[in-house]
Symmetry: D2
Subunit: 135 residues, 4 copies
C-alpha cells in the first residue's frame, strides 16, 4: 500500500452559487492529487505521455459528505492499494482544515499505448517506484 | 419511469491534451441534462432555488466507455426510475452522433431547505409533474 | 461586415459564489459564438484543424457591464469587421433576455500552420465564405 | 507600487486539444494571483466578502505571448500601481520555468457593498495594508 497527501486551495472559479465547490471540480482535485502522488514517488505523469503512454480514466466514483467552500485548504489523501496491471486504481479522501471528511472517491485509469491506441501493461517505470511498497 | 434526451455540443474548452473531453466535464453534462429534463416536465430548477430548496449532489458514478471529442453533438438520455423522496436519483447514458455509447452514470441529489440548511422532502411542485409517469 | 448571433444558456457550473457567471467563462462563450458564427457561414473550425491549421488566441479584451446569472439564455452577437489576413478579429456583444448589455469584448486569433508551427495566412476555405460580405 | 509573485502548476484539466492552456483559464490564474498577493499583505479576500464587500471584475485584458503547457510551474507577478479608490487595478506577467513571458494582462475590479448592491470605496482594511507601499 502507498499513501500520500496533497493540498489544494479552493479557487473562486471552483465555487458555484450555492457557495459550495461545484461537484464536477472534485474530478480535477483527484487528478492533481494523482499526479502529485506519482511525483512524490519520483515519477512524472508528463514524462509518461512523452514516452507514448497515456492514462485516461475508465470510471469515477465520488461521495460528497460535506460542502467545501471558497479559500479552504483541502487535504487530499491518495491510496494505491495494489500494483497496477493494465489498470490502476486510486482512492481519495478529502478533508477540510478542521479535519472533517468532505469527499471520498475512487478512479480507475487504464494504460494506453498512444501509437497503437490500445491498452497496454503498466510501464516498468511506474512499477519500479511502486514495488517497494507492495513487498 | 420518465426518460428524456438533451443534446450538448462539445466545446473546445472541454477538451484536454489527449483531445478527449476532460473526464470532470461529464458532471457538467449531467447537470445540464438534469435541468433540461426537469424543464421538459414544466419544472424549473432555478425557481426551486428561488423558493428556498436547493439540490446538492450526494454521489456521482461515471463509466467512460469511449472518448468524446471536440465539436461532437452528444445525446444525453436521462432516466428517472422512481418518485423522489428526500433523495432523487438520475441515470444518464451519453451517445455520440454515430450512436455509440460514450459514457453512462448516475447521481443522487438531496433536497435541502436552504433557510434551515437541513434535508427536506421533495417539494410538491416536483412530485406533481412526475406522478403521472409513476402510476 | 458579417454579423451573427448565437444563444447560450448559463450552466450552474459557470456560476460562482457571487451568483454571477464567473468572469473567466466569458472566454468560453466567445469561443462558442466564434465557432457557431463560422458554422453558419458553412465553415467548420474542426475541419480547419483537421486540415492542419489551428487558431490560437493572441489577445482578449472583455468589459463586464452587468452580471449574467444562472439559467439565463444569453444572446452573443459576433461581428467580423474585416477579411482576415494572418490574424482574425472577432467582436462580441452579449445581451440577456431583457435585452440588457451584459458583456462586450473582442479577441484576435492567429492562423498557425500546425506542421511547421508557424503563422500562416487565412486559408482560402475561410476567405471564400467571408468575401461576399466584404465586397 | 507593490509587487508579489505566485506560482501555479498547470493542471491537465486546463489544457485543450492544442495541448496549450485554454485561453479562458488565464482569468483563473489572475484570480489566484490576486488573492495570494493580498494574502501576502496580510489581507484575506474571503474575509472581505464576509464583511459585506465583494470585488467583481469590471474589465479584463490579456495578451497571449507563448503557449503554456501541461505540468509547467508558472510564475505570476502581480503589480499594484496605485492605491485603490472605488476601483482597483491589477497587472499580471506570467512566466514559464525558462523565464519566458507566457502572458501579460490586467483586470479592473470594483468594490461592491453587498447589502446595498452599490459601488463603494475601498475599505480601510485594504488601504491600511497597501499605504506603506505608496508613500
Amino acid at each position: 500500500m502507498y499513501k500520500a497527501s496533497t493540498q489544494v486551495r479552493v479557487r473562486y472559479a471552483e465555487t458555484d452559487q450555492m457557495a459550495y465547490v461545484y461537484y464536477g471540480n472534485y474530478a480535477t482535485y483527484y487528478e492533481i492529487a494523482r499526479v502529485e502522488t506519482l511525483r512524490k514517488l519520483g515519477f512524472s505523469y508528463k514524462s509518461l505521455e512523452e514516452q507514448g503512454v497515456m492514462m485516461p480514466v475508465k470510471d469515477l466514483h465520488s461521495e460528497f459528505h460535506k460542502p467545501a467552500t471558497y479559500d479552504e485548504l483541502l487535504d487530499i489523501e491518495v491510496t494505491i492499494n495494489s500494483l497496477p496491471s493494465v489498470r490502476m486504481l486510486f482512492e481519495y479522501r478529502i478533508q477540510n482544515e478542521s479535519g472533517e471528511l468532505v469527499n471520498s472517491g475512487s478512479t480507475t485509469l487504464v494504460f494506453i499505448d498512444m501509437e497503437r491506441n490500445r491498452p497496454t501493461r503498466a510501464p516498468e517505470a511506474v512499477l519500479k517506484v511502486l514495488r517497494p511498497f507492495f513487498e
